[in-house]
């Protein structure tokens, strides 16, 4: 029983850290494309860890119904893992088609004018 609690807590906390990193990353990254890195992927692993933790917690009182509910939760993770890279890819593709140029180290000076809030460095 205790071991299950520890696993659940570990999964939930690590999921929380991943989500937190994703949210902070979206704010801190310099441009559209690099913002998608934390947005698309830290969230994917975050939801994976959190839902896995909930699925394990759900099996505390083992029964067929609990097993089915956990199965549904794992299906959610599966669908997110399938659709998240596709969505990220299509957002990047839309940006490329619209002609938005990626931020690079050298051109950072130009970009900062369009983003005045990023004065720290």
């Amino acid at each position: 029983m205790n071991i299950i609690d520890i696993i659940v807590a570990f999964l939930l906390v690590s999921g929380f850290i991943f989500f937190l990193g994703g949210a902070i990353g979206i704010i801190r990254m310099p441009d559209f494309y690099s913002r998608l890195h934390p947005a698309g992927k830290l969230d994917t692993l975050g939801i994976g860890a959190m839902v896995a933790g909930l699925a394990v917690y759900n099996l505390h009182h083992f029964s067929l119904t609990a097993l089915l509910v956990s199965g549904k939760m794992l299906l959610i993770v599966f669908f997110v893992f399938m659709s998240s890279p596709t969505a990220t890819h299509s957002i990047v593709d839309a940006g490329m088609r619209a002609g938005l140029r990626p931020w690079t180290r050298k051109e950072g000076a130009n970009m900062e004018q369009s983003e005045p809030r990023k004065e720290e460095n």
Binding site: I17, F18, G21, G22, I24, G25, R28, M29, P30, D31, Y33, S34, L36, H37, P38, G40, K41, L42, T44, L45, T65, L68, V69, G71, K72, L75, F78, F79, F81, M82, S84, P85, T86, T88, H89, V92, D93, M96, P102, W103, T104, R105, G108, N121
Partner: protein, 191 residues
């Protein structure tokens, strides 16, 4: 997965009729796809419904049969013995991919929380060409690249060319590398 696929492609009527026609001629060939589709649909029904009353089970059986009858050639257009090998190798690939995703996620976390993040990151776009041929292999590699944090596939062509947005140098350098070898190995396209 099965529901989404059939839903998305159902407007294409030619496929549907083609399936019906080919059933008569190649009954042996289309039996395995039919059974796999049916089992997938019915398993999804059981998990989602969670209700084991005889009426609901038989309703699920009937609807899975109907859907499998119409759409068995959408999920598995051609099924040969080769696909079993692909499936087994793909199952072995998934755990490796998940470990790789977790490792790369920690790298991205380190970047995000680093106080001088802007000096560490170096976003740039790289192009590279692979010798993958089948669409499935190209798609698998593209999605694997996107799932691995630090790299996003921007465009990919059916000739195996890739354009990838990488967040920093280490992520970009790791790129075609082992992942390409593994994907090529799954689909037997090692040259």
């Amino acid at each position: 997965m099965t529901d989404a696929n059939t839903g998305a492609r159902s407007p294409e009527n030619p496929l549907k009729t083609k399936g019906k026609v080919s059933l008569g001629q190649e009954e042996k060939q289309s039996f395995a796809p039919f059974m796999i589709t049916f089992v997938l649909m019915f398993a999804t029904w059981l998990i989602l419904s969670g209700n084991f009353a005889p009426l609901l089970i038989s309703l699920g059986l009937i609807s899975s049969l109907i859907v499998a009858w119409f759409f068995h050639d959408l999920l598995f257009p051609s099924l040969t013995g080769k696909h079993l090998g692909i499936f087994i190798k793909f199952s072995a690939y998934i755990p490796w991919l998940i470990i790789e995703i977790i490792k790369a996620n920690f790298h991205l976390l380190y970047l995000v929380f680093h106080p001088r993040m802007k000096e560490l990151i170096d976003p740039h776009i790289i192009d590279f060409k692979t010798n993958l041929e089948s669409d499935l292999a190209v798609t698998t590699l593209a999605n694997s690249i996107t799932l691995t944090p630090g790299t996003i596939t921007v465009t990919t062509g059916s000739d195996g060319s890739y354009r990838v947005h990488a967040i920093d140098k280490p992520s970009a350098e790791a790129l075609p590398g082992t992942m390409l070898d593994k994907v090529a190995d799954i689909y037997g396209e090692n040259k």
